[in-house]
């Protein structure tokens, strides 16, 4: 290591390097000797004008906005683009909160590099549902002729190609892409690349690139592996060896304050993040309303009979998880329960008599349910809202049921799922905007679609992962939303749902909070996913009392982390 410092010191002492390019002079002298050929004066003047247009007059600042008269970026978006270009050398994680316009930031950076002549070949990888939107935004807002990939020859033929990562990583596309040298790669929803064991990660890692932008609303925090994996995508080899890195920084070891400082510095070097609160933009309000649903006696009976199974712990329902799933499904629709039960039966090759009986018993209970209390409430609410509404559910069976149910009552709806092909997603979005009152989306449909023209959400059932919930809300509560946003949470009384809602969501005021704070809190805890904790609490608690205590514990931990964070923030401001 010592020789390197000496080397660097050597560079320090050297006076500033000035290089004079002699290629022009050789050609010029040759022409003097040969008496030509000489250029044309008009063209000569044109070349000088071009040069005067393309010089970068200052070390700092962007030239792109001056060339985009139709676009008025917000101050925080300009600031991000400036940061990435000036301080991060075009390798960055853009981690603004949902809805702050990361697309605009990425577009600005791309445009700036293109104007400077540093970027020509570009690959934009985004969720399938956003491919057309990205391509059209780049074209209309930035005059960048981006093309949505459709045929495999397009990778080579076009300079700016937008595609989904799922398409790109498949043959024959993958082989073509791997041969290309990209100047810039933009990846939207990059939080999916936190795990370096996945195919997606491997694919992105193998791309040849000069600059790289990773866009995510979920920032990296103190999770060592995430930091390592994402930074390694941006700057391969920068963090040294993975094992050494993990040993040194892993939370399992005692981390010295000193090392934390290095990690912080590192994260600041590669990540920019704006919060809604910092942007100074007037956001429309969020109104959150919890609607308590009362089960019909038949629905209650179905729910209770699932509870009974837990006490029959004879390996029948060995997985706590499936029990929990059934419970949650019972809060959604009988169709969802039925679907799972049927699958459970199918999975057993030779089901025992007892197993079969239990399932049949449950199916009987399902069959005796005649109405869906939540659906009826939803219908009432939709009529009362008398405007566009998005219903989110976790279950496909519920989605299908709701579509049928609403149709019975003369309400037009369109379905939306993550699994839809890109064209279908665009089509559904348009149908919803122009012709239908309701969009029914499953969880997977929550990401990667922008629906600012709608301002009402019904959470038909609640996801256990608070981040997913924020993603849902983020579909409509983003830049471009002109109305206050109304969120209706359905929770069935005396069920797991009510517990979740009361203890977690209401106590930590999830809905009023915006994603950033929550993120920080959750990652700070470093105790695994909330979902795992919930499965444990509801699955393993012997009594209602035990469950309550465990829930209280979880809530206080979250509150503690929150206070800790506020304390740190205060300390940070005092220090600076």
């Amino acid at each position: 290591m010592g020789n390197i410092f000496m080397l660097l010191n050597g560079v320090y002492k050297m006076s500033l390097q000035i290089n004079f390019d002699s290629s022009w002079q050789d050609a010029f002298l040759e022409r003097m000797r040969a008496d030509g050929p000489w250029g044309n004066w008009d063209l000569f003047k044109l070349a000088v004008e071009v040069e005067q247009q393309t010089v970068i007059p200052e070390f700092e600042g962007l030239i792109a906005p001056g060339h985009l008269p139709h676009l008025t970026p917000l101050p925080h978006q300009l600031e991000v683009a400036k940061q990435v270009i000036e301080n991060m050398n075009g390798k960055a994680i853009l981690a603004d909160e949902v809805g702050l316009g990361k697309t605009i930031e990425a577009g600005l950076i791309l445009k700036e590099y293109m104007i400077r002549g540093l970027v020509k070949k570009v690959l934009v990888l985004v969720p399938a549902s956003l491919v057309s939107q990205w391509a059209s935004e780049l074209t209309t807002k930035f005059f960048i002729p981006a093309i949505a990939q459709k045929k495999s020859y397009m990778w080579e033929q076009y300079d700016v190609v937008v595609s989904s990562i799922d398409t790109a990583k498949r043959s024959p596309h993958k082989d073509i892409i791997n041969k290309l040298d990209y100047d810039l790669i933009i990846i939207d929803e990059a939080h999916k690349l936190k795990n370096n064991k996945t195919k997606n990660y491997e694919f992105v890692q193998n791309l040849k690139k000069k600059f790289c932008l990773l866009l995510t609303a979920t920032p990296i925090q103190n999770r060592i592996e995430e930091i390592f994996n994402l930074v390694t995508l941006l700057k391969p080899g920068h963090l040294g060896n993975e094992t050494t890195f993990n040993d040194k920084y892993s939370s399992r070891n005692k981390r010295s304050v000193n090392e934390d400082v290095h990690l912080k510095e590192l994260v600041n070097k590669v990540m920019v993040r704006n919060r809604r609160a910092d942007t100074g933009i007037e956001w429309t309000n969020r109104h959150v309303e919890t609607i308590a649903i009362e089960f019909s006696p038949e629905e209650q009976a179905l729910y209770d009979s699932i509870t009974l199974l837990r006490n029959q712990a004879d390996g029948l329902m060995s997985s706590q998880f499936s029990l929990m799933t059934l419970h949650r499904e019972a809060c959604s629709s009988r169709e969802a329960v039925y679907y799972t039960l049927r699958n459970m039966l199918k999975r057993q090759e030779v089901p025992t008599k007892e197993y079969e009986d239990t399932i049949q018993f449950l199916i009987k209970k399902v069959e005796s349910v005649t109405k869906n209390s939540k659906a009826e409430k939803a219908l009432e609410l939709i009529r009362q809202i008398d405007d566009k509404v998005i219903i989110f559910t976790e279950y496909r069976a519920t989605q299908l049921y709701l579509q049928w149910f609403l149709k019975q009552h003369g309400i037009t709806s369109v379905p939306f799922r993550g699994g839809f092909k890109r064209g279908k997603k665009d089509w559904m979005r348009e149908l919803f905007q122009k012709h239908a009152q309701v969009l029914i989306a499953t969880e997977a449909g929550g990401e990667g679609i922008n629906l600012q023209f709608c301002s009402n959400i019904i959470n038909f059932d609640l996801p256990w992962n608070p981040m997913k919930l924020e993603q849902r809300i983020g579909r409509i509560h983003r830049l471009g939303q002109e109305n206050d946003v109304r969120i209706y949470n359905f929770a069935t009384k005396n069920t797991v749902e009510e517990h979740i809602l009361k203890l977690l969501y209401e106590k930590i005021q999830l809905f009023e909070k915006v994603i950033g704070d929550l993120d920080d809190i959750l990652t700070r805890l470093e105790f695994g996913s909330i979902e795992d904790h919930l499965v444990d609490i509801f699955g393993q608690s012997a009594t209602e009392g035990e469950m309550k205590i465990k829930m209280e514990n979880l809530t206080s931990m979250i509150q503690f982390a929150e206070e800790m964070k506020e304390g740190l923030a205060r300390a940070a401001t005092e220090n600076s």
Binding site: F20, W24, G39, N40, A47, A64, R116, K120, K269
Partner: protein, 263 residues
């Protein structure tokens, strides 16, 4: 450069290269390329090679460039040009390439019966790039008179106001340079270097500061692993990124024969 300005620029570029503009619509223009321009822009060497071998009839392409998607009719097929698009960069580069070197004479009519002397000037249009992890450019146009050695800045601005012609006008004659062009170039180089050295280089010091910080961080991650080959790669990458330097490149230039009153 906004879209309208780009449109104007393209018009001038193709016209000064002798290409006919077939259609000139506010949103797009269609150009019939000449053989030379087809070779310059369309990148199809095999076609031209084949044609020359077989002696076929050359068929240079038409090129449609869309400068405003909103104004252009929907059924127009062409390339969308924007500031920053590779095609425009190619055309910029081509303008520089095709007019990199020039020799012109002042259009001067001496009174009847007299002869006028034209002084040789060397003109160099230069781009000075200050480079570290950030970049700044300065455009300079320098002229040096190859007899007296007089050196002036902003030379191009003076030239555009003078009537110039590629052929030596009647009744004028050129004086031979006392300073050879090659020495003229060295004088310009020396002049620029002296000037640049005396400038304030706090930008370079700041870059070194940032460089050192980043290197310290990198060293930290390799503390126990400094034999790693990646380390060397990363260290070089940092040097590439941060090391401050100034690059001077010549945009274009040439000799201009001017009357002594012209400058």
């Amino acid at each position: 450069m906004q879209q309208q300005k780009i449109h104007k620029f393209l018009e001038r570029y193709f016209e000064s290269n002798g290409c006919e503009i077939i259609e000139n619509h506010p949103g797009y223009l269609t150009v019939q390329l000449t053989i030379e321009m087809d070779k310059e822009l369309m990148n199809r060497p095999f076609y031209w090679h084949y044609l020359e071998k077989t002696g076929g009839v050359p068929n240079p392409m038409k090129l449609t460039l869309i400068t405003n998607n909103q104004l252009a009719p929907d059924d127009i097929i062409g390339e969308t040009i924007h500031f920053g698009s590779p095609r425009l960069h190619q055309i910029f580069g081509s303008a520089k390439n095709l007019a990199g070197h020039i020799r012109l004479y002042e259009e001067h009519k001496p009174p009847a019966g007299t002869q006028a002397a034209l002084m040789p000037w060397l003109c160099m249009n230069l781009k000075i790039s200050y480079q570290c992890d950030r970049k700044k450019d300065i455009f300079k146009s320098i002229g040096i008179q190859l007899i007296s050695g007089q050196l002036i800045e902003g030379f191009h601005e003076k030239l555009v106001n003078i009537q110039l012609t590629p052929k030596i006008p009647d009744h004028t004659f050129t004086l031979s340079p006392l300073i050879m062009p090659v020495s003229g170039i060295s004088r310009v180089e020396a002049y620029l270097k002296t000037e640049l050295k005396s400038e304030d280089h706090s930008w370079a010091d700041a870059a070194k500061e940032r460089w050192k910080k980043d290197l310290d961080l990198l060293n930290h991650f390799y503390e126990e692993d400094n034999e790693n080959e990646n380390y060397e790669v990363e260290r070089r990458a940092l040097q590439e990124q941060y090391e401050p330097k100034i690059n001077i490149s010549v945009v274009n230039g040439g000799v201009f024969y001017l009357t002594s009153e012209a400058v």
